[in-house]
């Protein structure tokens, strides 16, 4: 919180006892909030029997079985068959064989995760690129119907994703974009670009025009002034915007569920179907969840100042 410590306007500065009470309540809330997440991370290191034990086990022997199950496909075999295979070559084979299973190949999780990365970063880059250009133009030039265009850009976010998904499904089927990374990148870019324009326009508005005007007088063209003077000043704003776009694309589920099934499927629609035979493989689901949520948690902690600025700023401007 960048301005947290300097700008406190609590009523006549709270008493020490009042502060302690406030701290206790907030910390209590934060700890309760963390229970579900901690529980999921722990479940990822449980064995399947431990994960369905009653009462829920807080103390257990950690194992990587969930992670092994997440990344492999396995088949159940007779003990005689497994013995005929000879001793296991690797630690993960040993783990799997304890449950009378053999590894038959890698699972699709790694591929789905990779898709999330490609589609997330691809669409973030495009949305921020287009958003920067449009934001600069809206901020600096006389654009006819400017307010209408800006409102139009914003209103595209009010549509329920499922409502847009029907025609996009038909359109992508016709164009051959169904289940392609390109199709998903374009779609997420379109969803994100409205937010990007609004956020970035605020940041450009804050940069004094005089800088560019001085550069133009010095013989720069408009484009050069944009590139060499404005863009470097927008860095913080671009970073904040990029985080939001990335988080949206990373977390998106409805479009991914309806428009991808195989090659371009991202992780969110895949994680729920990991559950496996008998619906008992909670450690594998928890492991997948942990790996999927981890980058976002790290992002949140490391980039919290940019995030906070983006959240409050974006909302207050609109």
């Amino acid at each position: 919180m960048s301005r947290a410590s300097t700008a406190a306007h609590s009523v006549g500065e709270a008493t020490p006892a009042g502060k302690a009470l406030a701290a206790a309540l907030v910390i209590g809330y934060a700890l309760i909030t963390m229970v579900p997440l901690v529980w999921i991370v722990l479940t990822g290191f449980k064995s399947p029997p431990d994960s369905i034990a009653y009462p829920p086990k807080v103390v257990f022997e950690p194992t990587l079985e969930g992670y092994v199950n997440l990344f492999t496909t396995r088949s159940r075999q007779t003990e005689a068959y497994i013995e005929s295979l000879g001793p296991p070559q690797t630690w993960y084979e040993e783990l799997v064989r304890k449950r009378n299973m053999v590894i038959t190949g890698p699972s699709r999780f790694a591929g789905r995760y990779m898709n999330s990365i490609i589609i997330g970063f691809g669409s973030t880059f495009l949305a921020v690129f287009l958003g920067t250009l449009a934001a600069y133009a809206f901020s600096r030039f006389k654009v006819p119907l400017k307010d209408d265009l800006l409102f139009f850009i914003l209103s595209t976010r009010m549509m329920p994703p499922i409502a847009v998904a029907i025609p996009i499904y038909l359109m992508y089927r016709t164009l051959g974009l169904s289940d392609t990374a390109l199709g998903m990148i374009l779609l997420y870019t379109a969803v994100n670009v409205s937010l990007a324009v609004w956020l970035l326009k605020g940041f450009v508005d804050e940069i004094p025009r005089e800088y560019e005007e001085a550069a133009v007088i010095d013989g720069y063209t408009r484009l050069q002034a944009f590139w060499k003077v404005v863009l470097p000043q927008m860095r913080a704003g671009i970073a904040a915007t990029a985080i939001f776009c990335l988080i949206f694309a990373w977390n998106e589920y409805a479009f991914a569920l309806l428009l991808t099934s195989g090659t371009a499927q991202t992780a969110p629609p895949f994680i729920p179907i990991i559950i496996g035979e008998g619906g008992l493989d909670w450690p594998a689901v928890a492991a997948g969840t942990t790996l999927f949520l981890l980058p976002i948690v790290v992002f949140t902690v490391v980039l919290r100042n940019q995030l906070l600025r983006g959240i409050t700023f974006g909302a207050v401007r609109k």
């Binding site: 406190a8 701290a23 999921i40 329920p160 025609p167 499904y169 589920y253 309806l258 992002f299 409050t312």
Partner: protein, 317 residues
């Protein structure tokens, strides 16, 4: 505008020199740059947002089914709309959606505002704990829905276990019970999104100039009066914005709930978006569901506009 005169001047001199053409290519006019910069965004939005919306409106007047692409599209006028508006089921789903939106907003405003007031007391470590509180709202709603099904499990789930530590009610089937299913999704939404309301309230609190409180102290206004006459009116616009954004999002809610309860049991948590997906992508009644989509969109848009008018009135006072 001074910048414009400078460039037009540069343009004129450029045109007067033999190198005019080369200069013109490099020094695009402001208007050209503006269009060059805006057009790609507009084109993308037209192609992926507006064109599909128009198509939805067109399809809503037909009996088209997307799983039978070969069949000719038949125009049936407003029959889809008549059927939708006359259907009791649809009103049921709308009521479920409305109660989800209202309950989540009421609870989250109370907790969020309370937390913001507490954090604004600036105890040591407030920044760190604020960040911790924020984490749930950054997570993928669908994945959150998935792992809460595990936490909510009546036998092995930790939620039921913790509740039983405080009150021996036996296995608590949050998702499977008709009475509790709605609360199961309200709790998860509150867990995820209270931080958002809290953050905007915090931004509001920090925008209040301290001299207002100093003046109030001089006037001997008590803490309650200060809260009522200074804090609340100043935070109100921020709070209402937060409710607007979250309200719209929760009206469209799909991902978290579909993974958690998928609308059940019965249709106790069948939100409008979930039913829309069922009609459009399971029953493949594309025309009918397009009409449903249009109704939803108009509702969101209409409610949001009314709300923004109210918000502007609060801002002015």
């Amino acid at each position: 505008m001074p910048s414009d005169t400078v460039t037009t001047l540069a343009d004129k001199t450029a045109r007067a020199t033999p190198l005019a053409l080369a200069r013109r290519v490099r020094a695009l006019s402001d208007q050209a740059i503006a269009w060059l910069f805006i057009t790609p965004t507009i084109v993308l939005l037209l192609a992926i947002n507006i064109f599909p919306l128009l198509w939805t409106i067109y399809l809503s007047f037909t009996s088209y089914r997307a799983n039978q692409p070969g069949r000719p599209i038949r125009w049936i006028g407003t029959r889809n709309y008549e059927r939708l508006l006359g259907s009791e089921d649809i009103w049921g789903y709308m009521q479920v959606t409305a109660s989800f939106v209202v309950w989540t907003m009421v609870i989250q405003v109370l907790i969020g505002l309370g937390l913001a007031l507490l954090i604004n007391r600036n105890f040591k470590g407030a920044g760190f704990w604020t960040t911790v509180i924020l984490i749930p709202m950054m997570l993928s709603p669908a994945v959150v829905g998935t792992f809460w099904t595990y936490l909510y499990h009546p036998q092995i789930g930790i939620f039921s276990y913790i509740v039983n530590v405080f009150a021996a009610v036996g296995p608590l089937d949050m998702i499977g019970s008709v009475d509790l299913a709605m609360w199961s999704i309200i709790i998860v939404d509150t867990w995820m999104w209270t931080p958002y309301i809290m953050l905007l309230c915090l931004a509001g609190l920090r925008s209040i100039p301290p001299y207002l409180y100093e003046a109030a102290e001089i006037d001997r206004a008590g803490p309650l009066q200060q809260f009522w006459h200074i804090t609340l009116p100043r935070v109100m616009p921020f709070l209402m914005l937060a409710v607007l954004f979250r309200g719209i999002e929760n009206f469209k809610m799909f991902d978290m709930v579909v993974e958690l309860t998928s609308g059940g049991p019965g249709s106790t948590t069948e939100l409008a978006s979930i039913n829309l997906k069922r009609e459009a992508f399971e029953k493949w009644r594309t025309g009918y569901s397009s009409a449903f989509a249009v109704i939803l969109f108009v509702t969101v848009f209409g409610l949001a506009n009314i709300y923004v008018k109210a918000l502007n009135r609060v801002k002015q006072t």
